[in-house]
Amino acid sequence: MKAKVFVMPKQSILDPQGVAVRDAMRHHGMPGVKFVRVGKVIDLEVEGATEAQLHEIARDLLSNPVVEDYTIQLGA
């Protein structure tokens, strides 16, 4: 099974990387940029796992639910 796990900082958490990238984009001639958030994508190929197990590992290891949200895209 192939999957992509997207991990993003929660909306309620200040993302200083996103703010820094947004400011850099403004300095580089894109004053209209309003919002940037920086997260990560984790590419997976797993044999013999269920979708529920993927969610478990995404919640427990690949993301930290205190500060991050994740989404899983299957077959990517």
Binding site: S12, I13, L14, P16, Q17, L61, L62, N64, V66, V67
Partner: protein
């Protein structure tokens, strides 16, 4: 008194902890992260460093080290657990302490002495200090910005579990200047500053000693 110092691949403050603990009168033993038992100690220290290269998130992979199962069991039995810097991050990732430590507000690694206000002496870790006193102890981290949800924050404050706050300047953007917290049972303490680096006058401060002295006194 016997202290275990857990070594993860990437721990780099383990020998500083050993030096200070021995100086204070502890017997120390290094425990490798692949070992499965941390039993038989009065104190377990998770030292600072960059366990597993900070891959994924600081402390995220160390949390799954074989030794952590035993550390969690020992903590549940009331053994004192002290997590310094990366050790604090591991305690949060493993659920022994609430919240998380994220990237510093200004995205820079900060290595400097800071002032810490003692908020509570009601724990074995600061029982010898005075509430309101200010300790001069260095920090050295890129991810020390403490965050938690509003419910957790209210609970930490209501239960007097914030043991140390940054005084004056907030170096990393931590919520309510939080520098160190303990669990509800008050036997697990995590802090971003490095008290083991402030135990010798040659290093500019001896204010960190109060933590190790308090632990020793409370175990006696």
């Amino acid at each position: 008194m016997k202290a275990a110092i857990i070594r993860f691949p990437g721990s780099n403050c383990d020998q500083d902890c050993e030096f200070v603990l021995k100086e204070q009168g502890f017997q120390t033993e290094f425990v490798w992260h692949k070992d499965t038992s941390a039993a038989g100690f009065d104190l377990i220290v998770l030292p600072g460093g960059f366990s597993y290269g900070d891959y994924l998130r600081c402390g995220a992979i160390a949390r799954y080290s074989p030794i952590m199962k035993s550390v969690i069991e020992q903590a549940a039995q009331g053994v004192l657990v002290l997590g310094i810097c990366n050790g604090f991050q591991i305690l949060c990732e493993s659920g022994l302490l609430p919240g998380a430590l994220v990237r510093n507000r200004d995205l820079r690694f900060i290595c400097e002495h800071v002032q810490l206000r003692v908020e509570s002496t009601a724990s074995p870790f600061l029982s010898g200090a005075t509430v309101g006193s200010v300790l001069n102890i260095p920090i050295a981290h890129g991810e020390g910005n403490y965050v938690c949800d509003a419910t957790t924050l209210a609970q930490l404050n209501a239960e007097n579990r914030v043991l140390l706050r940054y005084e004056g300047v907030n170096p990393n953007g931590a919520t309510e200047n939080i520098a160190g917290i303990c669990n509800a049972a008050r036997n697990v303490f995590g802090l971003m500053p490095h008290p083991e680096r402030a135990c010798d006058s040659h290093l500019g401060s001896t204010d960190g000693r109060i933590i190790f002295q308090s632990i020793l006194a409370s175990l006696a």
